[in-house]
Symmetry: C2
Subunit: 315 residues, 2 copies
């Protein structure tokens, strides 16, 4: 029992990251059913698609779940209305300021968790009235901060600087890294990459293949001039590097990225030309399992790990 | 008692990093006296200076200590002869292949630890016969790997891939991060930045001031075309950024770096124009303490941290 399981009325302090193109209601259902917090990733959904996913998830479970809402989503009002209308219990907001919408959700009894990549924004999020923060390190997949602070450095600082619960993210996907995150001062963990490889994730099979065979050094944080994003190095990544070499400006980079790259790669399976967002920790996994088996594996390793930690004696 | 304390005959699994310009015999003495592994940083010492530091350290303690030897040191043979002549118990080699000299040291009964930043090189180091590896993540100060793998991701992978003891480095400087590293699978930790702020370190007071007031995001890994190095962002760093903007080539970068930048900054205290090597974790410390107090603080927080980790119950 941690502050985060209490806050969210869940059994296990594991939050599934709401990843675009990979986090449908089926994945959220599997995670929530096993006692964690399942999350629908709204960032890649049209308003009517989000509605459908929420309705189906609610039809299958009474348990707590969340919607991840990137605040730069173009038709944000529509998503917000859907979330309120269908009484989604928890919203995880990211990629924007928590000042604007936190009160809107909280008035309706919806819990708000905001994703940050620095201590400064963790403090600002607390001031904005959020219930908890996800503090995400440099090693995390997808969109990321500019300061490059890693989970190891970020979590002790954030957890010493705010009073609200802290969920660690970035580099976590096994029981050892979960134990590490809790030792650093987190109240729970958010896991993304490992759940991309869940049977219930909507990642294309070819994307899952690339993720499960990824090695150390295969991802890179790039496009820092737009929004920094951690990607698998593929042909699309090489074309970004080419653009950098010829000193491309922001508008050229934006044009190169274009529209629909992420969908193309992660959902449609064009693993060469698509944008493949994934964390460094993908190097450490090779198997596709059900979300429930992933959670069981993590928790059992977590319990073994903390039981094996020995006190250091000094005189 | 861990495999690393056993291997090195030390009491506490804390290895002080052998940092150039900051790791004189006085710091090594203080750390070894408190039960950790004190390390003289030979990379910034002329052969006769290294000899003097070893002689003085040996005159003051019977405990295990080490010399850190960057294998790209120009007059390496001379350092090696000194290390052998004065029966230094442990050598920590870095920045080069462990193949060439490991056998030379081991024949003389000297234990060899090699610093790596990837699982691949951890395995190669084991094959080369080293006694242990330091696995150092992206967040570490000073010279670093090209793959940018963070401690959180690197340590579980390295410790699952080799049989020899693993010392985690990068982002570690308090009891929480030490506990995190041990949870990730490390047998001990190497701590650098925190010991730059030790009273016994030879870092210039102005450098200590900059380190103790550093904030999140104040360091950056740069000069990746030469040897990647993590620095504090100061005027020298800005001039590197300017050079990148005008698409400077490697030789121009090398010229800009020049000779003696690190000494100028860290030892002579020119904190504007010098090269200030330090880890991300410097953001998390503000006080200058004796090495012994630093160790006591870390161990006491470590013990509190692991005692507070709760088992997660699942049905």
């Amino acid at each position: 029992m941690t502050r985060i399981t209490k806050l969210l009325s869940i059994d296990i302090p594991i939050i599934q990251a709401g990843m675009i193109w990979c986090s449908p209601w089926q994945l959220a259902l599997a995670v929530s059913s096993r006692g964690g917090l399942g999350v629908i990733g709204a960032g890649s959904m049209y308003p009517e698609v989000l509605r459908e996913h929420i309705v189906k998830l609610k039809a299958h479970t009474q348990r707590t779940f969340a919607v991840n809402l990137p605040l730069l989503y173009p038709d944000i009002e529509s998503h917000i209305n859907t979330i309120i209308k269908y009484k989604v219990p928890v919203v995880i907001t990211s990629a924007g300021s928590p000042k604007k919408f936190t009160a809107v959700f909280k008035e309706k009894g919806i819990k708000v968790i905001h994703v940050v990549s620095s201590t400064k924004f963790a403090i600002k999020s607390q001031e904005a009235g959020v219930d908890a923060v996800v503090a995400e390190g440099f090693e995390a997949g997808g969109h990321n901060g500019r300061e490059e602070t890693t989970t190891m450095v970020l979590i002790p600082s954030v957890s010493r600087s705010v009073d609200i619960p802290v969920i660690a993210a970035g580099g976590i996907g096994c029981g050892r890294s979960m134990a590490a995150a809790m030792a650093l001062g987190a109240d729970g963990v958010q896991i993304g990459s490992r759940f991309v490889l869940a049977k219930e994730s909507s990642a294309h099979d070819r994307f899952k293949e690339v993720v499960s065979s990824a090695s150390e050094g295969d991802t890179r944080l790039t496009l820092k001039e737009l929004t920094p994003v951690r990607l698998i190095k593929n042909e699309f990544y090489s074309s970004i590097q080419e653009a950098y070499k010829r000193n491309a400006d922001i508008s050229e980079l934006r044009q190169l990225l274009g529209r629909g790259r992420a969908k193309k790669g992660m959902f449609e399976g064009d693993v060469d030309e698509g944008e493949l967002e994934i964390g460094q920790v993908s190097a450490n996994f090779t198997s596709v399992l059900s979300a429930s088996d992933i959670i069981d594996e993590i928790i059992s390793e977590y319990n073994r790990t903390i039981a094996a930690l020995d006190k250091v004696n000094v005189d």
